[in-house]
Amino acid sequence: MIPELFTIILYGTLVILFVSVNALFLVWMERRVSARIQLRRGPIHVGWQGLLQTVADAVKLISKELVLPSESDRFLYILAPMLVFAPLLAAFLILPLGPGMVMRDLNVGFLFAFALTNITFIGIFIAGWSSNSKYALLGAMRAVAQNISYEIPLLLSTMGVVLLAQSLKMSELVAAQNSVWFIFLQPVAFLIFLCSSLAEANRAPFDIPEAESELVAGFHTEYSGMRFALFFLGEYTAIFISSAIAATLFLGGWEGPFLPGAVWLLIKTYAIVLVVMWIRWTFPRLRSDQLMSFAWKVLIPFAIVNVFITAVVLELQKI
């Protein structure tokens, strides 16, 4: 019992450490990528290539006052950032870093991570409701409406891969891509997955919930200091996790020559994150109705057709 408790605490500490460093790195990367795309230079003065800029920002955020709106629902207001952030930590349980290097190789695999993101939606709702502000409430409703619509194509797009691998287990999904990556067999599914995970993370061009010009900042309008930072930590962790799942499902996960598996997974994951950032700074924001019709009229039909064709081809191969 004691060693087990010890490993749980050790893993938990490692995950929290990684999440913090990852968020600091991704914020820096986002600023550098956006600067490059907009022909600016971005943060370059603090540390090598400005790497320590986000550390300075984090220290500033920690030292800021935690404002509590007077008319808010105190208990729920404090609970919401934790509910958004905590489930994402548990999603690290299923990420495979190498042969046998996964904390829990669950039978349900990546579905576990998607189930956990559902709990963060409740956190977003609570944040919007307890702030007692119109902007926060509207932002929360838009965010959740968007998230639950895009969850359908997200799950459907993974089904083609699952049919090919005959398993939901992360380790078996990696093993099935030994000869050829699933991105070549399931290119449509990969595109649908990428679009839907962008929308799930509320990233541009799907960032209606935090449209600055009309909603101030969306569901976290009333939050300040470290509570606000927790939402951002959550957003960047969500991007990392969905990119890591995409890397495992479509790009062969930890498999690669010479380097250890964890390094390959990180390389592939950050490559997808780079594409995600590239998309954010290249495309304009969609309108709310365009967003919904894109999910229901484009992504879902394509995802269903993709699953159907995959199943038919697999059956025909058996004959």
């Binding site: 087990e4 939606f121 409701w129 409703m141």
Partner: protein
């Protein structure tokens, strides 16, 4: 030892959620307590070695049904409504009787069913459920999808009439 502590913790959480869901006087809190209760049930499925059912419980009941309930509350009641509906004795009694009848019926059904003992290790619910839905249980499955189709069409009809 540790398993037992966690198990009774989860049971206490589930019961607390269920109790709060019916006893709190603010409708938004009721919905959140329901989420807590459903999360407890999902944890209990993990104790039964059925990760798939646990994940589905979270995706379907928390991710879809509870969120639909919260949406309905947000759209229909003013923000942070402080007024609380007065307690109605007759309503309480009526719901108590119906709940007791439902519990009795379910309890009878539970006693009559013979449960196949789990002889295998690991989680086979995913394959077993998939196979059963398309073979032995195909009629209930199709009936449920028909009900859902009717519900979608009804919702469209209601939304169309302005």
């Amino acid at each position: 030892m540790m398993e037992n502590i966690v198990f009774f913790g989860v049971v206490a959480l589930t019961l607390l959620g269920a109790f709060l869901a019916v006893s709190l006087r603010n409708v938004f809190y009721n919905a959140l307590a329901l989420v807590l209760c459903l999360f407890g049930v999902a944890c209990l499925f993990i104790f039964l070695n059925s990760e798939f059912l646990a994940v589905m419980e979270v995706i379907v009941y928390i991710g879809a049904i509870s969120i639909a309930i919260i949406f309905a509350i947000m759209l229909s009641t003013p923000m942070l409504q402080k007024t609380e509906a007065p307690q109605d004795r007759l309503k309480t009694l009526r719901s108590f009787v119906i709940a007791a009848l439902l519990f009795g019926g379910l309890f009878k059904a539970l006693q009559k069913t013979t449960w196949p003992a789990a002889g295998v290790d690991g989680d086979y619910s995913l394959h077993a459920i998939g196979r059963l839905l398309l073979t032995g249980q195909v009629l209930p499955f199709e009936a449920v999808s028909l009900v859902l189709l009717v519900a979608i069409m009804g919702a469209l009809l209601l939304a169309e009439k302005k």
